[in-house]
């Protein structure tokens, strides 16, 4: 807003200035130590950890994209099954846990706490 010294832009401006200064100082310190620009984390060498982290992140993105259309229940069961299996549990453990955990969350949040979890394609059979 023009004509106002402490308008809405002032506070973010101060923050931006501070971040720029701190960023410059950190870069200077890193250059002095000859630190690499990017270093891979240690777990990158473990296939199980790599797959696990990738699956969690991809699954979360998928949930955001699919939950409304497909519904919480199907998305939840599928994601849990994929995650648990990929982290190393057997199918005999994976399937019952995915099913029961999703139903328990449905019961706690949808039934008891009245959170409108989306039904998606199961809308007709909502209970």
């Amino acid at each position: 807003m023009p004509g106002q010294k402490f308008g809405p832009a002032w506070f973010p401006g101060v923050i931006a200035g501070g971040l720029a200064i701190c960023g410059a100082l950190l870069i200077a310190a890193g250059t002095r130590e000859r630190a690499p620009w990017i270093a891979p984390p240690e777990w990158i060498h473990s296939p199980r950890a790599r797959v696990g982290v990738a699956a969690l992140l991809a699954g979360l993105v998928l949930y955001v994209l699919a939950a409304d259309a497909v519904g919480f229940h199907i998305t939840g069961i599928v994601l849990l099954a994929v995650w648990i299996r990929l982290l190393g549990a057997s199918w005999r453990v994976t399937l019952p846990v995915a099913l029961i955990a999703t139903l328990v969350i449905h019961f706690c949040f949808y039934k008891l706490l009245r959170v409108p979890l989306p039904w998606g394609v199961l809308e007709r059979w909502a209970f």
Binding site: I15, L56, C108
Partner: protein, 497 residues
């Protein structure tokens, strides 16, 4: 003000000793013990996960569940320290090696017992200070204007940066990121949309609970999955009567117990630093003043007593600034403040006038939770082997689905899940690279308060900076703030020359 009449006490008593509230306390206690005992699940995470559930409860049980779960979790963090050489929560990390060394020497029972006994005593000490200090501090705070609040917020932010472990420059970056997040939306003195990009979700500002679920729960799950190859190997410990010998220890180390509790409460009350930093400091102090410092690290009980009391007393200490000023003392109370607002228990000096029964009920819950810790803690130690056998590959995904639903439930909007995911990644990357999380959280919670008090002070003072020092308390706080910032700078300059 804050008149503690018999009526208020009776009302508070009735609020706490209601069957529903007692059930909530018991359930939260078991939840807290489990979360605390499993490495990778923290007390702050327990709080963030509880919020979506407490959302639907009346104020007293909602707060009671958080108080109970966090107290139990901080104690239970000691259990895997003794058995797995892994802290159950970061608050136990300071003395994990010491506790494990005791177990290796065949004194696991002693290590577990003192973890429990001195947690209870430290927790009760912190609670006593909270009950005594908060109402009288509120009386002083009633006279505060925007000038005093401005300096208090600046001091709080400064202490979060300087008390964080590691590089203070990274602490400042973390703080600024938090303040930046706080400035999104319409909620600023000018009511001008900032960083909204024409998006309606962003205009309302970023909701803190999904962000905290992301930063404290999702990032922690990512870290646990990244470390999933690390096996959990349990040390053998014979567990009989864990409280055996505790009275002797209390009589032998009274000074350590007192010092740990005092330091813990004080660190807790300082904004931005909580139980984990309190434990590190108390362990270091204990070693520094010990008659037998050479025994530290070889399985010596002294440091465990002091730091174990310290981290539990920090929990209650953190509530002092949270209740009186709305300035969180640690990450847990940063979440709690949001819950207080939702429940209509707006923090601030008037809370003791407007909501006296509810606040005294919360104080009673603190006492009750710490007393309840004794029997439940003994049970948890006995069940430790079963709890630590919980398969991570099943546990972590289920918690993640719970996080998704919890983030969604706050506004019934998928945008909450987006926020959770984004800040989960941000939190993970920050911590892996040595940027502390606590300053960012404090910045998010206090950003609006900082800007508002600065702008309204500036308008009152007509732009004169000197007005910030004209009122006696404001002047003192202002000078203190400048000293806090100047000391490390001067020290660095003199050290170089």
């Amino acid at each position: 003000m804050g008149l503690l009449t018999a009526t208020v006490l009776a009302q508070a008593f009735a609020l706490v000793f209601d069957p529903y509230v007692l059930w909530v306390i018991l359930a939260s206690a078991i939840f807290g013990l489990f979360v605390g005992a499993v490495p990778g699940l923290t007390a702050t995470m327990a709080t963030a996960l509880l919020v979506p559930v407490t959302f639907f409860m009346p104020p007293v049980p909602a707060i009671a569940s958080i108080v109970t779960a966090t107290a139990m979790a901080i104690f239970a963090g000691d259990i895997p320290s003794c058995l797995l050489r892994m802290p159950g929560t970061p608050a136990s990390a300071a003395y994990t090696d010491e506790a494990y060394a005791l177990t290796k020497k065949g004194q696991g029972e002693l290590a577990l017992g003192s973890g429990l006994w001195f947690s209870v005593l430290g927790g009760l000490f912190g609670t006593a200070v909270l009950i005594a200090a908060a109402p009288s501090l509120a009386e002083i705070a009633l006279k505060f204007s925007s000038f005093e609040y401005f300096w208090l917020v600046v001091l709080g932010l400064a202490s979060a940066v300087f008390l964080a472990l590691g590089n203070p420059l990274k602490g400042v970056v973390s703080l600024l990121v938090g303040l930046l997040v706080a400035s999104v939306g319409l909620d600023n003195p000018a009511g001008f949309p900032r960083f909204t990009f024409g998006n309606a979700e962003l205009a309302g500002g970023l909701t803190l609970i999904p962000i905290m679920i992301g930063m404290f729960a999702v990032s922690e799950i990512l870290r646990s999955v990244a470390r999933i190859e690390q096996p959990w190997e349990m040390a053998q410990a014979k567990i009989g009567n864990v409280l055996h010998g505790m009275w002797t220890l209390t009589r032998r180390y009274p000074m350590q117990l007192l010092r740990g509790s005092v330091v813990g409460t004080a660190i807790g009350a300082l904004p931005g630093a909580g139980a984990d930093i309190a434990a590190w400091m108390s362990y270091a102090i204990s070693k520094r003043f010990s008659k037998e410092p050479h025994k530290f690290g070889t399985g010596h009980i002294e440091g465990i007593i002091e730091a174990g009391a310290s981290n539990n007393s920090a929990l209650a200490g953190a509530w002092i600034p949270a209740l009186v000023f709305g300035i969180p003392g640690d990450s847990i109370t940063a979440i709690v403040i949001g819950v207080l607002y939702i429940k209509g228990l707006n923090p601030g000096p008037t809370i003791f006038m407007n909501n006296a029964p509810a606040i005294y009920a919360v104080f009673m819950v603190f006492i009750l939770a710490n007393l309840l810790m004794l029997p439940l803690g003994i049970a948890a130690i006995r069940a430790a082997k079963q709890m630590l056998r919980a398969p991570r590959e099943v546990l972590l995904p289920v918690i993640l689905l719970f996080c998704i639903v919890g983030s969604f439930a706050i506004n019934n909007s998928i945008f909450g899940v987006v926020l959770m995911l984004a800040f989960g990644i941000v939190g993970y990357v920050m911590e892996e690279n040595g940027f502390p999380i606590a300053p960012a959280i404090l910045g998010m919670v206090l950003g609006a308060m900082l800007e508002e008090n600065f702008i309204s002070s500036m308008i009152k003072a007509d732009g004169r900076v000197f007005a910030f020092f004209e009122r006696p308390i404001a002047g003192a706080l202002g000078v203190l703030t400048i000293v806090v910032f100047a000391v490390p700078l001067v020290r660095r300059l003199t050290a170089r020359s």
